[in-house]
Amino acid sequence: MNKRETAQTINDRAAAWVARMDREGSDPAVRAELKAWLAGDDRRSGAYFRAKAAWHMLDRASVLGAGQTQPDETANSPGFSRRRLLWGGGVAAAAAAALVLGVVGMDFPTTPDQQIQTAIGEIRRVPLSDGSLAAVNTQTALNITMEPEIRHVSLETGEAWFQVAKDRTRPFVVEVGDVRVRAVGTAFAVRRSADGVNVQVTDGIVELWRVGDEANIQRISAGAHVFIAPEKQIVPVTAAGETIDKTLAWRTGQIVLDGDTIAEAVAEFNRYNVRQIEIADAALGTQKMIGRFRTNEPDAFARAVTTLTDARAEIGADRIILSRN
C-alpha cells in the first residue's frame, strides 16, 4: 500500500461492514472476508468495534416498541414517548458489569448479539433477529447469540417461551445451566428456578439433554413437560396439555388457578410483584382455589381469597397479609 488509508475511509468502511454483517453475517464467506479486512490494520478493528457497539446500542430502541407495536405505528415518532416505561435504567448497567467482551478479529463470537432483562412484574414479547419470538416473563435474563450454524440462547434466570422460526440448518438451542434444549421449528417454554429446570412443549418436538450425558437425549413432544432437578436423571415425561395452557397464561399477563393451593398461588403472585403476599396461617395456605387473575393485581386475588374462604386480608401499600378470621 503506497498511500495510508485515511481514518475517515476506515470509519466509513467499518459502518458498511456492520451493515453487511447484519444482512448476511451468517455466511462463512462473508465472515472470512471481514476477518481478512480487519487483519489489515489495528485501526480497522477499532473502527469496526466502535461501529458495532453503536449499532448494538440502538437495540435499546426495541424497548420503545415494547414488542406490541403495530407495524404502521412505527412511522409515527410521537409514539415513542408513550411506550418507554418498561425500561429500567439500572438494569443495563448492572448486567454490563458481568459482561465479557469478545476478542477482535472473530466478529466477537462470545459476545451475545442481544441481551434481554426484565424487571419484577415485567412481561415482554421480543422478536429475535432470526424471525423467532421470545415471550419473556418476570425477573428474567436472556443472552442471545445468532451464529452461522447455531442459534444460541442462554437463560440465566427466570422463564421464557420461544416460538422458533423453522431453519433446519441452524438448530435453536437453549442453555440452562448444564441442561440443553434443542429445537428446529417448534414452540416451548423453559423456566429456571432454585429447584431445577422445567421445560414445556407447546408445539412440535424438542430434544433435551445434559452436558456430559449427550448419549442420553430425551425427545419431548407437544403437550408434554419435563422437570429436571440438579444432579438427577432427566425424569420421564408427564403428559400435560391443559396444564401447559394454564402455566403459560403469563404470556398474556394472567395467572390461572385450577385447584391450586393458596400457598402455590401466593408464590406465583410474588414472582410478579414487589408488593408481596404473606400467609400468616399455614392451614389457610392448603386450601384450594379456582380463578383467573392479572399478574399485577395481587390485591384482587387477596379479596377473592377473603370472599371464598374465612380469611381476612390486610392490604397495605408494600405488602398484603392473609390470615384467618
Binding site: T6, R20, D22, K52, A54, T74, A98, L99
Partner: protein, 187 residues
C-alpha cells in the same frame, strides 16, 4: 458490547474535545480508532469502575505511545499531555440519570436520520425485523436497505463523535430540510 454502548460511546465527544487540544484532526481519528481497538481486546470489564475514566486513560496512553514512537518528539507535547488531568466520574446525580438519558439519546439519534433511513432503523431496531423483511415491508431491494443501514450508522457515529450541541444543530437542520422538502405534504 452493551457495556461499550452505555459506558464508552456516550463519552466519546468529551474525549475528542479533550484530545483536540493537543492533536491535529487526522491523528485524533487514529487515536480514537486505536483506543477502541484496545477496548475491544478487553476480555472482562467487570473491574472497570468508570468507563469514562478508562476511556480517557486509554486514549492518553495511546497518545503518549505515539509521541514516543515519533522520530521527533516535541518535549512540550509530552509534558502537556502528562499534565492533563483526567476528567473522572460524572457527578452522581448525572450518573443516576444516565440510563434514562441514554434511551433518550438513542431515540434522538434514530429520529435525526433522513426519512427512509429512519424508517429502516425503526423496523430493524424497534420492530426487530431482519433486513430481508425490512426490504419487503418497504418494497425496496435488500441492497438499498443495507446501504441505508451503512449510511444511517455513519450519521449516527458522526453524531456520537460531535458534541451534543453540534449534534442537536445537525438534527434541527436535517428536520428543517426534510420539512422544506415535504412542505407540500404537511398537514
Amino acid at each position: 458490547m452493551a457495556w461499550v454502548g452505555s459506558e464508552i460511546l456516550p463519552h466519546e465527544a468529551d474525549v475528542r474535545s479533550w484530545l483536540r487540544r493537543t492533536l491535529n484532526p487526522e491523528d485524533l481519528e487514529d487515536v480514537i480508532q486505536e483506543t477502541y481497538c484496545q477496548i475491544a481486546s478487553l476480555k472482562d470489564v467487570s473491574h472497570i469502575r468508570s468507563g469514562r475514566a478508562y476511556f480517557f486513560t486509554a486514549a492518553r496512553n495511546i497518545v503518549l505511545m505515539r509521541l514516543r514512537r515519533a522520530r521527533i518528539v516535541r518535549i512540550e507535547s509530552v509534558t502537556e499531555i502528562e499534565s492533563l488531568n483526567i476528567v473522572g466520574d460524572e457527578p452522581s446525580p448525572e450518573r443516576i440519570a444516565a440510563g434514562r438519558r441514554e434511551l433518550e439519546r438513542v431515540r434522538r439519534l434514530i429520529e435525526g436520520l433522513p426519512d427512509r433511513c429512519r424508517k429502516i432503523f425503526e423496523l430493524r431496531k424497534i420492530e426487530g425485523l431482519p433486513q430481508r423483511e425490512v426490504a419487503q415491508r418497504l418494497g425496496v431491494t435488500e441492497h438499498i436497505v443495507e446501504n441505508d443501514v451503512a449510511k444511517g450508522l455513519k450519521l449516527i457515529l458522526q453524531a456520537i463523535a460531535d458534541d451534543e450541541q453540534a449534534a442537536e444543530q445537525r438534527r434541527i437542520r436535517t428536520k428543517q430540510n426534510e420539512q422544506a422538502r415535504n412542505s407540500t405534504n404537511d398537514q
